[in-house]
Symmetry: C2
Subunit: 239 residues, 2 copies
């Protein structure tokens, strides 16, 4: 376990710890798993669709996504995977990837340590369960985004989601957060064309909602934007 391998860990741990309190044993397990860190360059497939999944992985740094491609080349990014997110955490016996997993930037991943006792009060097990529940909530939100929202609303809603998720991992500063996606990638996420994403971003810049550039997004008034796209705070478990 080198220092280099550990450097990207804090944000992933921060996210898991924000989901459920982790004790020293959990943290130790995470650090131990860091010996299995793997670096994957941008645009590389982490897992192909239909491939067997050995075990859950934890994204330490960088952005990845689940993507599905139609035979004529149309692509849809089905969900974004951000630092601290789990990859391929299924419950069935011989799980198979239901979608390809793609590194959008350079990425580091490591095998997610198995929680000690599934049933008992392991913080890690609870964190994993909650992470899965949030993943599902984001999938659902993505569906209503694509099904019922305008381009402007979709884009704003996605930025709010990114801000929310990155904040949990301590990766945003105020209303500013890193956003390394190209407009082409955003288009594949939002179900739009590159051209229209570009025009939509222009519109958001012009009405003063955001500053975008240099791989960074700043939301000028998240609350107003939240109301504008009718985004209500989600909850995944009782307080």
């Amino acid at each position: 376990v080198t220092n280099t391998a550990l450097r990207p860990m804090p944000s992933a741990i921060a996210r898991l710890a924000a989901l459920a309190p982790l004790d020293d044993i959990d943290i130790a397990a995470l650090h131990k798993a860091a010996s299995g860190v793997r670096r994957v360059p941008a645009r590389r497939e982490l897992i192909g669709q239909g491939q067997p999944i050995a075990g859950a992985n934890l994204l330490l740094s960088g952005w990845a996504c689940r993507v599905s491609t139609l035979s004529d080349g149309r692509r849809q990014i089905v969900s974004l995977i951000l630092p601290g997110d789990l990859i391929g955490a299924g419950r069935q016996r011989n799980p198979v990837a239901t979608s390809a997993i793609l590194a959008l930037t350079e990425v580091t991943v490591m095998p997610a340590p198995k929680p000690r006792a599934e049933q008992s009060g392991s913080g890690l097990a609870e964190a994993y369960a909650l992470s899965g529940a949030w993943d599902e909530a984001y999938l659902l939100r993505n569906i209503t985004r694509l099904g019922r929202m305008s381009a402007y609303e979709r884009t704003a809603d996605l930025f709010l989601e990114m801000h929310e998720r990155l904040s949990l991992a301590g990766l945003s500063r105020g209303n500013t957060f890193p956003m390394p996606l190209t407009q082409q990638t955003l288009a594949d996420t939002l179900g739009l064309t590159t051209v229209h994403v570009n025009r939509t971003l222009q519109a958001m810049r012009q009405d003063g909602s955001v500053t975008i550039g240099g791989g960074t997004v700043e939301l000028h008034d998240p609350e107003r934007l939240t109301r504008a796209v009718d985004r209500r705070p989600e909850r995944v478990q009782l307080p």
Copy 2:
């Protein structure tokens, strides 16, 4: 446990048994749970968004859905729930419904019996896990449908999905299956307007793809349709 309560069970059991082999103890547990059968009329909410979830339920008969509603009245049906599907099977400690659950037709549900030993080789546990994996696969497919497909493709793809899922529960006969949704409800599922769903159905009728009416759909050439919308067979676990 009256006969009446048991009547809708076979298709739900058929689906679970098709996912993983169930032994006598599993079947007995399912029959025992039938004492908790509940009948819910159409249009009634089974669970409101954000409500706590007591335990997983099993849909025995009728169609339900997970729906999200924006404040201005736009609705998106996020997933369909068919007989044999589980409702609200989360892993976290105090799960909360991430979306409202709505009965689309009259529906019967019962509490899903807990599998004996999560880890050991309970067929029921495996069936639940696979059911969840399929649910997720359908969510992902719904996302690429909404994001990247035309109205015609979306509709055809959804019909193919319905056929696939209902067949697993033994509820289709050849290429014909029950489809009790109104065009308004289809529209909310497909991210379209009622008017356009109507026109799309007309188009499908005219090119000889389907017969629709009387709460029934017949696909005239599922293989051709499958190729037309680039639907590939999904897999959720290794064979």
